[in-house]
Amino acid sequence: MKLKIVFILLACIGISAVYAKKIDVVTTTTDLKSITEFIGGDKVDVSSIATGYQNPHFVDPKPSYIIKLSKADMFVTVGLDLETGWSPQLLSSSRNLKIQKGSNGYVDASVGVTLLQVPSTINRGEGDIHIFGNPHYWLDPINGKQVAKNICDGLEKISPENKAFFEANLKTFDDKIDLKLKEWTMKMAPYKGLKIVAYHNEWCYFEQRFGLVIVDFLEPKPGIPPTPTQLVKIISEVKSNAIKVIISSPYFTTSSSEVVSKQTGAKTIVLGTSVGAFDNIKDYFDLFDYDIDKLIQGLE
């Protein structure tokens, strides 16, 4: 009987030890969570602060997030000031030195990404301009590979004994991106050069990768809600360019784009900007599967 109890206790300690070995990662967005799960596999326990259907610029810094951050071994951020309105406050309240900027557990996923729309001058009169460049870079799957590399580097710093495991997962992830990119590019090939309109300036990386041309935005300036003057301009542009589609995101209301749709016949399509935007976008690959299929459906 005593032996049985000792065995159960040892088993419990063993289970706890295995559990304790998992690297606790907090990411700002669900895309980073998905990629971290691909690279970290069963060695990581990942949670995301923002949901996939939420505007990542405007996340409310709820104190409950501090609990997660206080225990985290690693923090992964999109960077480029995307989360500037909420993540610095949460980080400094976390009392966790491991994940502060400059520490091994702080991973800026944007490092090494070739950025688009880097402004030469900064002026808030132009709206919500990001001083480092457009931060929606994860919407190009090639940039997903760089993000995965940054996450892999971060995990290796924290758990060097699992270096080979993480790198093998990175290779698998990269190979899958290459394979899927061929599929996505082939699907989008007939629509190369196609002109569309978007609600907010967050699609430039997707646009460049898949050869679309975004003619204009419903927002007159980034972050400024559509105005009647802007909508009149958009209606004229949609008509003159025979634009068939207006793309938007789950966290914007579609009332403005529906006005344009009614006037022009162009369809409003809500695409996912992040994993979890819709129920069937469960990981980073699903995101492009969903967006590309949805876009093609809209165009056909």
Binding site: T51, Y53, Q54, N55, F58, D60, P61, K62, P63, S64, I66, I67, S70, G85, W86, P88, Q89, S92, S93, R95, L97, Q100, K101, G102, S103, G112, T114, L115, V118, R124, D128, I131, F132, G133, I142, D178, L179, L181, K182, E183, T185, M186, K187, A189, G223, I224, P225, P250, Y251, T253
Partner: protein, 381 residues
């Protein structure tokens, strides 16, 4: 022979990849080989070419700097000067990490004297906060807004109304903003967020309830914050505060306070609609002599509706005694409409009426225009 086998293996691999790929989607099966080659070339060139180093904004050790302008215009009845307008306050902030172990925040204010119209400078807050103490502790030292309830820690420009709640003003004036040390502990509670803050400060100079003692009586404050996620869209905060310190009678005032805040903000459309209900109550026990103590009470409650991305409404009710007179009873009602152009600019207009059992009814209409230049840190949730 070896070459033949290698070619065969390569061909088999290529075929199998093609088969896998073709099974994934019909469109790939129809793909022309020229386009596939082009894609492969693109992928390969990305992998083999040396990484291009893109110049990012030059690194800087300068702190985040911002200036907040607060223009106000007002009409008040039952006063000598009914109309007034001008820059009420300009706040200059500097915020940055000091090193890997601490951050520092400074807020200077240039406030306008409504009588003389002259501006006087003051250090509103200036403190260092540790980032790395063990046991989830955080130490703050300097001059700071005390962790008393929900209104006191917030800078007025970030509040969704213009005039401070009557009950709060009656007990704390413009707030407890004092020099000393603050230790906060993140309670290891995995069910909900709990934070205990203990502060010892010199004691405020101009405050209805407290005075700075010339002796060894310091202002001591404790605040327990409990924060619950009711759902993805709704939260509840329940706080308890206790503060004790010297008063203007050279005796002691003790104040116990409770705050309750319910917030509803749909995660998906959090920039378009929200609702907040916030209530705070103050229970004061002030000794005015060895044999006399005054027990008094004050409370406010407000609701804040966000109707659209830019339009907000706040309605507030106050009931309050005064710290040294429980017989004074004041009631006030206010309504504020706010138009938020962007995160950097808002205009609010407020009507407020205050009645009391000792004074004539006072009515006021206020207009406030807040504008920010530079980089200003986020405010607490």
């Amino acid at each position: 022979m070896y070459c033949f086998i290698r070619t065969a293996v390569m061909a088999a691999l290529f075929l199998s990849v093609s088969v896998i790929a073709s099974s994934q989607n019909d469109s790939i099966a129809k793909a022309d080989s020229g386009l596939l080659k082009q894609i492969e070339q693109q992928l390969n060139s990305k992998e083999t070419s040396p990484a291009t180093v893109q110049v990012r904004t030059a690194p800087s050790t300068l702190p985040d700097i911002s200036v907040i302008g607060d223009f106000q215009a007002s009409y008040r009845n039952n006063v000598k000067r009914n109309f007034d307008a001008g820059i009420n306050e300009a706040e200059l902030s500097f915020q940055s990490v000091v090193d890997p172990y601490a951050r520092a925040d400074f807020f200077f204010t240039l406030a306008r004297d409504p009588v003389t119209g002259k501006f006087s400078e003051d250090l509103e807050e200036g403190y260092i906060t540790t980032l790395s103490l063990p046991f989830h502790l955080q130490l703050k030292a300097g001059k700071f807004k005390s962790a008393m309830g929900r209104i006191n820690p917030v800078h007025p420009h970030a509040l969704p109304f213009i005039s401070l709640p009557t009950a709060y003003e009656n007990y704390f004036g413009e707030g407890i903003n004092d020099e000393g040390v603050s230790l906060s502990w993140l309670v290891p509670n995995s069910l909900f967020y709990q934070e205990l803050v203990v502060q010892v400060t010199d004691g405020p100079i101009d405050n209805p309830s407290f005075s700075r003692s010339v002796g060894n009586t310091y202002l001591k404050l404790a605040h327990l914050k409990n924060f619950f996620d009711l759902s993805a869209n709704a939260t509840l905060e329940l706080g308890f505060s206790g503060v004790t310190g010297a008063n203007s009678y050279d005796f002691r005032t003790n104040i116990a306070a409770m705050d309750l805040t319910y917030k509803w903000k749909p995660v998906q459309f959090n920039t378009y609609k929200s609702f907040t209900w916030q209530t705070e109550a103050y229970f004061s026990n002030a000794d005015t002599s060895k044999n006399r103590a005054v027990n008094s009470f004050g409370m406010y409650s407000f609701i804040n509706f966000q109707f659209s991305k830019r339009l907000f409404f706040t309605g507030m009710y106050n009931y309050s005694n005064k710290p040294f007179s429980a017989s004074i009873k004041e009631n006030s009602y206010s309504a504020t409409i706010g138009w938020y152009a962007t995160e950097f600019q808002k205009i609010e207009i407020e009507g407020k009426t205050t009645s009391s059992n000792i004074e004539k009814e006072q009515n006021q209409v206020l207009l406030r225009w807040i504008f920010v230049i530079g980089t200003h840190g986020a405010h607490q949730y």
